[in-house]
Assembly symmetry: C2
Homo-oligomer: 156 residues x 2
Amino acid sequence: MKLRNLKPSDYTAISPLIDEWWGGRKMSHLLPKLFFDHFNDTSFIVEKDGDIIGFLIGFLSQTSSDKAYIHFVGVDPKYRKFNVGRQLYNTFFDQVKQNDRHSVHCITSPVNKTSIAFHLKMGFLIEGGDKEIDGVYVHSDYDSPAEDRVLFMKRI
Amino acid sequence: MKLRNLKPSDYTAISPLIDEWWGGRKMSHLLPKLFFDHFNDTSFIVEKDGDIIGFLIGFLSQTSSDKAYIHFVGVDPKYRKFNVGRQLYNTFFDQVKQNDRHSVHCITSPVNKTSIAFHLKMGFLIEGGDKEIDGVYVHSDYDSPAEDRVLFMKRI
């Protein structure tokens, strides 16, 4: 496995993979081309035998000089047990620390129990919300109307 | 009319406006909450009598230290002749110049003739593409599969 920075030309390969890896859910609209052009130093790809098997797209907050944000992470379902996600997150943490950022933020859907478990295992805390679902704090209507989200934060 | 920086709490007001201003086209997914949290110093709102009548969301490229990017601009159709867009763009140019950026980039759909005309009037150049539609260079499959885009660039 090889980890490297994201390049603009990775868009053509990754965009069709997204809907496939998410089991046909239409997700690729969440990753317009701009994310492949303007945040390359904090976005990463894992390849195996020349194929992309995972990616992380994140950036340094322009507004909050101590914060970094992870927007989108995808791992090929065939490689879910190979610590690809962990490796991508740890690389992101190292990179943003070099940019003097000490808090990393991301969000997930409350139905995505695998993602919630993963973030807790990676040391993220769940930020307080306005309601609770299955013991987890949730922010109602956070991202698009009627889209609840769990908010994560990790100090690094 | 009052122009100010975008705040995270503007999300709740703007997200439902988008689909309305675009005549029912589903566009609000292009503006997830993250754009309201992390790029506030380069994103702006125009208000009239307390109502939002226009907004611009842009950022400084993290990868290219000379570039800035305008992601999304919306103007209430009732105020299309009031130079709201021009005012937002000029404010963005001033702000990013202060951050030592001298090239501004954005994209639009080739069917959006009003947007193409507006950008040309604002002094943007159209970047060369792989095909031509109605005399305009277009990049095929640029943003999501089968979504062609016109690419604009302006030196400031």
